[in-house]
């Protein structure tokens, strides 16, 4: 980030304040600080309570195998805006134990579980350190650099078998089971006792035991195949009558090893994979990833490319929000008819995506330093038509149909309330955060691309309930419309790419965190490069994943029927939750 772009405040040099406990990270290409593991809790507590860094956005691990070190990387923000305070904790690889931040920031909950699951970093003090994306009993921690998957061929791509020789064959043939399977030596399947989910159910059944009047709680399992869960998502709820007293989401049913594959891929090869994260809004994912890599490479796209990018990102946002209204209706029980309204609008935007990128859903449109192709003829006019006429009109129609609808109001107002403190502490982002009265929008708080030039308002609502989440999305779609109108008016002519398009980009060693305000919230990509053609670490801070931390807070005390509504109003996409 360049100096003149600082928006709220400079990052204080905490190595002075916490002398002896914190040192600067001086590795070339790295920034931030290194905190001693034993001081972590003190330092973070002070950062939160005294320096105002109250929003823990991302926690992840990096396995520095050659140095024998495991590093945990934290990105901390102020909820009033500004750049990140990055700090790291380094521990030995074979004894990776770090204090848990769970009790200071609830947003660490799932992220620490993920780091435990995939990297084997044990967080002391975490009350529920179970595996999250794989299952209990899974052999090993797959993101460790020395862990090999059953179809392992080589450390990095392009694999010698494919390029330059191009040998054709089935990867299955290299595996003794002719399948994507491997078992530890000496393992006997007959004696295996599935470690199913005792831990999960046990905690659900404990609830309500110690009440004076003994009433039974019922444990209900929703999903992973359930019409309301928007994909393969599962919840375990304990009910007292109809009231939810306990709720735990269970995820990982769509864990597709995005990060492991990403670390084997070359940089450009990852671009199409990002499409498949939040598959409803693939363009935004491209955006985040391109920004992160561009930060590392130190390049900027030309003007026209920036405008095209913002145009695509805002069209995506508009489409995503309208889609979410369709789902809202669905979850309210008005099955599918409203969805058809939403899909009709979506088709029109998909037509534009198809025209520019060649694919309806999986656009793979952004490149480092620009976009893949220029806008084909006629597209701009089509977009103009949409943004000046159809889109505002349709939003008004939706507004008229939904906002004053009695059922919508009765069901949504006061349902699933999340206070501002909870939202910040849980690391909620996007419309979920802004509906709780926190005007935090990365496009303003930490501007990227050309957003600092565009005229739009950060939408905020204050009740933090489902209805406000809906209103936030509605108003945001209006703001997107406003941005789009400016973009199509001002888009300049010119090149769409800095430098020549290349299959293999040169990325200097270092780390970068690129984040965008995706329709679902803060989408961040944390990338560590060693100067090789492949990223050493590739981590996705997925908004849907972290927003789900708030689900229990929203549902506890409410009725079971509202769980469905709350889940819908968070607006998750499982591709992004499970990655």
């Amino acid at each position: 980030m360049s100096e003149e772009q600082v928006t709220v405040a400079q990052i204080p040099d905490i190595s002075l304040q916490f002398e002896g406990r914190v040192v600067k990270d001086t590795r070339a290409g790295y920034s931030g600080f290194i905190v001693g593991a034993e001081h972590l809790l003190d330092v973070v507590q002070t950062l939160r309570d005294e320096l105002g860094f109250d929003y823990l956005s991302s926690v992840t691990g990096v396995d520095y195998l050659p140095e024998g070190k495991m590093e945990v990387v934290y990105h901390l923000y102020r909820s009033i805006g500004g750049p990140a305070l990055v700090f790291k904790v380094q521990v030995p690889r074979d004894e990776a134990v770090v204090p848990s931040l769970y009790h200071i920031f609830k947003s660490a909950d799932w992220q620490e579980r993920e780091a435990w699951d995939l990297m084997g970093i044990r967080f002391v003090g975490h009350p529920d350190l179970r595996r999250i994306l794989t299952w209990e009993g899974f052999a090993g921690h797959p993101l460790r650099k020395d862990w090999k998957e059953p179809y392992f061929e080589e450390e990095t791509k392009p694999y010698k078998s494919r390029w330059p020789e191009g040998i054709t064959g089935y990867i299955e043939d290299n595996n003794p089971y002719h399948d994507n399977l491997q078992y530890p030596a000496g393992f006997d399947p007959e004696t295996w006792i599935p470690q199913a989910e005792e831990a999960l159910y046990a905690s659900a059944q404990k609830i309500g035991r110690d009440k004076e009047l003994h009433t039974d709680t019922v444990v209900v399992n929703l999903g992973p195949q359930h019409p309301s869960t928007h994909g393969v998502f599962r919840m375990v709820a304990a009910l007292d009558g109809e009231q939810v007293v306990f709720l735990k989401p269970v995820v990982g049913y769509l864990h597709r090893n995005h990060e492991k594959i990403g670390e084997r891929n070359t940089y450009l090869q990852n671009m199409p994979f990002t499409d498949r994260l939040d598959y409803v809004s693939s363009m935004s994912n491209n955006f985040g990833y391109a920004l992160a890599v561009e930060k590392l490479m130190g390049i900027k796209p030309p003007e026209r490319a920036d405008y095209i990018r913002v145009m695509m990102a805002e069209l995506t946002r508009w489409m995503n929000h309208v889609f979410s209204f369709g789902f809202l209706w669905n979850d309210l029980g008005s099955y599918f008819t409203p969805m058809i309204y939403a899909l009709e609008e979506r088709e029109l935007i998909l037509d534009i995506f198809e025209a520019v990128s060649g694919s309806r859903m999986m656009c793979n449109y952004f490149r480092f330093g620009g976009v893949a192709r220029d806008l084909p003829e006629g597209v701009l006019n089509k977009v103009k038509e949409l943004v000046f006429e159809r889109m505002p009109r349709q939003l008004d129609a939706i507004d008229k149909m939904l906002s004053t609808n009695e059922i919508v109001r009765n069901r949504c107002i006061g349902c699933g309330v999340l206070t501002a403190e909870q939202a910040i502490n849980n690391g909620a982002s996007g419309p979920n955060l802004r509906a709780s009265g926190v005007p935090y929008d990365i496009r303003r708080a930490d501007p990227y691309s050309i957003y600092d030039r565009l005229d739009f308002d950060v939408v905020v609502h204050y009740h933090g309930d489902v209805y406000d989440r809906y209103l936030t999305r509605l108003d945001e779609a209006r703001q997107s419309n406003r941005i789009l109108q400016q973009v199509v008016r001002d888009i300049p002519e010119g090149p769409i790419m800095t430098g020549k398009p290349a299959y293999q980009v040169r990325v200097p060693a270092g780390e970068a965190y690129g984040r965008v305000e995706a329709p679902k919230g803060e989408l961040g990509f944390y990338i560590v490069s060693t100067g090789k053609p492949n990223p050493w670490r590739y981590h996705v801070r997925a908004p849907s994943f972290i927003n789900l931390t708030s689900l229990e807070d929203m549902c506890r005390g409410g009725k079971i029927a509202d769980v469905v509504l709350n889940l819908g109003a968070i607006d998750i996409v499982l591709g992004e939750v499970d990655r």
């Binding site: 794989t134 994507n180 530890p184 399947p189 195949q225 928007h230 393969v232 090893n257």
Partner: protein
Amino acid sequence: MSDETIQSSNYEIPPEMQGTVSITSLDKVYAWSRKNSMWPMMFGLACCAIEMIVLAASRFDIARFGMEVMRPSPRQSDFLIVSGTVTKKMVPQIVRLYNQMPEPKYVVSMGACASGGGPFKEGYSVVSGIDKYIPVDVYIPGCPPTPQALLNGLIALTKKVDKERIKTSEWYAKGSEAAVPVPVLGPDLMDPRKYALIYEQTHRPIEPEIPAETEQKEG
């Protein structure tokens, strides 16, 4: 409905009754009514599921083929669209759902992932195609397949159904198929049918690794 496809040609129908009466065989009318009312199970797995939803909306509209009734319950469905990446964590549920479907039942594998692992095939928790566990009737390529492609696949399925005859159909044969054993999650996914193989492999004496060169396969 077109009379020509269902009418058997061997019978004369008096002119005054043409258009109201058809004479046909039981087989034909049975297949005809079945293929025009195939109910999919509503079951979304991943990105492909979005295109499946789109198929039900106005632009593509599977109601034209009598398929618009999507039921989330396996009990009321004729076929299962496996729409997306099948992960090891999810496969036991899919097999269970398949077992719960009433016969005759069909499986459509939608997209690269469900058919063979797709872009995520190399991942450690992705199943290389659902056909490793349950039988598949129609494969649809694409990532994701466009709604048109999906529609084409579904039409192929109706054609298959149309060709079935009560006498020869496997569904009505004696001793119908046993349920597919549900895989178990262990250190990795375990298919109960393969326990012996797993045991054999994990108890092999460890041989010194010979750096096996990948050799060009013939054919």
